[in-house]
Amino acid sequence: MLKLKHLLVSTCAGALLAISSAQLVAQETVTVLHNQQDQFIRDTWDEIRRDFEAQNPNIKVQLDFMDDDAMKARLPTLLQSNAKPHLYWSFGGGDFRVRAESGLLADITDKADGLRAKIGEGAMSAFEVNGRLYGAPYRLAQVGFWYNKSLFEQAGVRSEDIETWDDFLDVVTTLKNAGITPIAAGGAERWPLHFYWTYLAMRIGGQELFDSILADEARFDNEYYIRAGQELQRLADLEPFQAGYRGTVYNEAAGVFGNERAAIHLMGEWDIGVQTSESESGEGVSGDNLGYFNFPMVEGGLGDPSATLGGVDGWAFTSGNGTDAAVSWLEFFLAPEQQRKLAAAGIIIPVANGAAEAVEDPHMQQIAENIANSSWHQVFWDQALGADVGGVINDISAELFAGEITPEQAVRRVQQAWDFR
């Protein structure tokens, strides 16, 4: 009872204090919504928030968090309500474009000089729709092959020998013959499988193919995309995945890799953390034992082998909320100093100019270099195409792996969905 009284008194006092201070300074609140689950990252953000508020006493920043599924489910209605945040976490890509074109986002093109001065043009363009800016990038991600060095050694293969897709298939065969499950895959969720099909299409068809598909100048049913399906099925024929992969969700697959029950995992760099936390030992495939190699080139393919598939994610301004306060918070949050701090903590691959040098973790460093050296950074294809067609791409990647569909049927199904979007 005493505690309750105490609580009541302090709450009242706190409320009074808040009211009086609000009257003293006209405070503006910027609300921010993200799906970040990691407490360490949240704490780091909170430090940045405190620094910002210390420098801008008339702006208050409120960081709200939801888990990923809840946020996905609530966002469509939230964005149309008055309770919407000023800023929310978003990928660049199909959904972002639809929301911008639907007037759900705020156009901040005229206030963006400060942001543009700090962030590279390439990453910034992911948040532009029809030449107008509706948000800003926060970090980069890239998908590539993570592998277990000791399992590779055990089978007598080396990642350095993998230059082409054929080499990769040879390594898979050798691993399999050595009694090691070559690859972990979260087949139940399907998007992990679409990385294979998309990367193959990137290596075979090249940037021009992807750009002209997005511009409606090319179709999915072309020889490059069909060949990508054929190459995918060559891999599928080797039965490279852990048993029952079609019922495995991504986190479980990361666990398979983290528990050293499979040698390779094609995934973004966030997998370093996830495979660690999902492993039984809590260590995962760590330190020197974790290796990385790029998706190999495909012989006869038109694509530049340095091209990367990955993500640019960041912040979107909700309509009516592209306020000066919100922009200045984002300018502060995305400034090279903060990005360097986050990069040094191994949290992100930064987008701010000059911040990439601060990345200390060697794996993250490698990814940052890959993206910096890549001639073309393709945003996750299923995101770029939007939830609808992206979903079809994911479904069909899974069906290609299961051999339930021919490469020709596959591209026709995707084209059908694309035509009807």
Binding site: S102, G103, A188, A243, G391, A398, E404
Partner: protein, 319 residues
């Protein structure tokens, strides 16, 4: 006063007395006032929350629409294309077949099983109460929880299935990852989850069967089977018809339990039901028009079934 006015006046007052008489006849006990006072709010709520949404989804089903902003601004009229696509989609066919499978399993396995158990534990005794509780337990669990529990049971590496395959030295088996097995695995859970519910309906029915009838039949030399088939079952027919109705409607709505068991309809969508299909392709992929078309098909199926069942099966029992 002119004579015309007098005539009009008389007509008016005549009308008034007629109205009074009509009111007197129809408003006995305030029936009409009650209707006029109480029907409009109920009707309004019903129209706003039931009729209107149904009608709206009928309209949406003819559009390609992502649901973000007003239909008039971002919707595109596509005519019957949504319906065409649904009817041609092999995944939808699979979803319909799966839903039918739930009905068949309910009728052929679940309800007979429930009936057998009900017959054996209907009489009142403390041990029977215990069994009733045990059989009813699965039904108490939330559907999502049941789904999650069975996901662990079906795990081919660590679950019960893994324990069994290891015991017999078989290769690991992953029911939920197998195109042919994923939905059958769900059917097992359906039977496990709902047989207790139907059993309870039957027990309630069986307890209302008068004992003297059973005793009289026994005195006349009827065998146990004869008592069941000639006396008990005919007397609880209304309960049976009700439980059949519930299981068919339940199958048409089957959703929550499948969600945690299989992701996005399982391997190649082989474990979709009509409602999970609607959710995946209508809501997750923000295709409100397409989802509405599925909803309309589902609504028609439900309405047609409910209508015919009420008219031809339930009605006969009341007469």
């Amino acid at each position: 006063m002119k004579s015309v006015d007098i005539a009009l006046d008389a007509q008016r007052s005549g009308r008034f007395t007629a109205l009074k008489a009509w009111l007197y006849r129809h408003n006995t006990g305030g029936r009409l006032s009650t209707l006029l006072l109480f029907i409009p709010p109920a009707l309004m709520v019903f129209t706003l929350l039931v009729i209107l949404p149904i009608a709206e989804s009928g309209v949406y089903s003819f559009y390609r629409w992502n649901g973000f902003i007003a239909l008039s601004e971002s919707g595109r009229w596509v005519g019957w294309q949504n319906y065409q696509f649904i009817l041609q989609d092999p995944v939808f066919h699979r979803a319909v077949w799966n839903t039918t499978k739930i009905v068949l399993i309910s009728l052929l396995i679940q309800l007979p099983l429930a009936m057998m158990l009900a017959l054996s534990i209907a009489s009142k005794s403390s041990i029977n109460s215990l069994f009733r509780l045990v059989y009813f337990l699965p039904f108490i669990l939330a559907d999502v929880v049941a789904g999650l529990i069975w996901r662990f049971i079906y795990d081919g590496n660590f679950g019960l299935v893994a324990a069994i395959t290891q015991m017999f030295g078989l290769d690991p088996f992953y029911p939920l990852a197998d195109r042919a097995w994923a939905f059958n695995a769900i059917l097992v859970v359906v039977v496990w989850k709902y047989f207790g519910y139907h059993m309870m309906i039957y027990i309630a029915g069986l307890q209302s069967v008068p004992n003297d009838l059973v005793e009289a039949a026994r005195l006349d030399g009827a065998s146990r089977l004869q008592i069941i088939f000639r006396i008990k079952l005919p007397l609880i027919m209304p309960a049976i018809k009700l439980s059949v109705f519930f299981s068919v409607i339940g199958a048409l709505q089957f959703f929550e339990m499948a969600m945690p068991l299989v992701t996005a309809g399982g391997p190649s969508g082989s474990a979709h039901t009509i409602v999970t299909y609607l959710y995946e392709f209508g809501i997750v992929r923000s295709r409100i028009g397409f989802g509405s078309a599925v909803a309309v098909v589902l609504f028609l199926a439900c309405a047609v079934f409910a209508f015919f069942y009420q008219r031809f099966v339930m009605a006969r029992s009341s007469s």
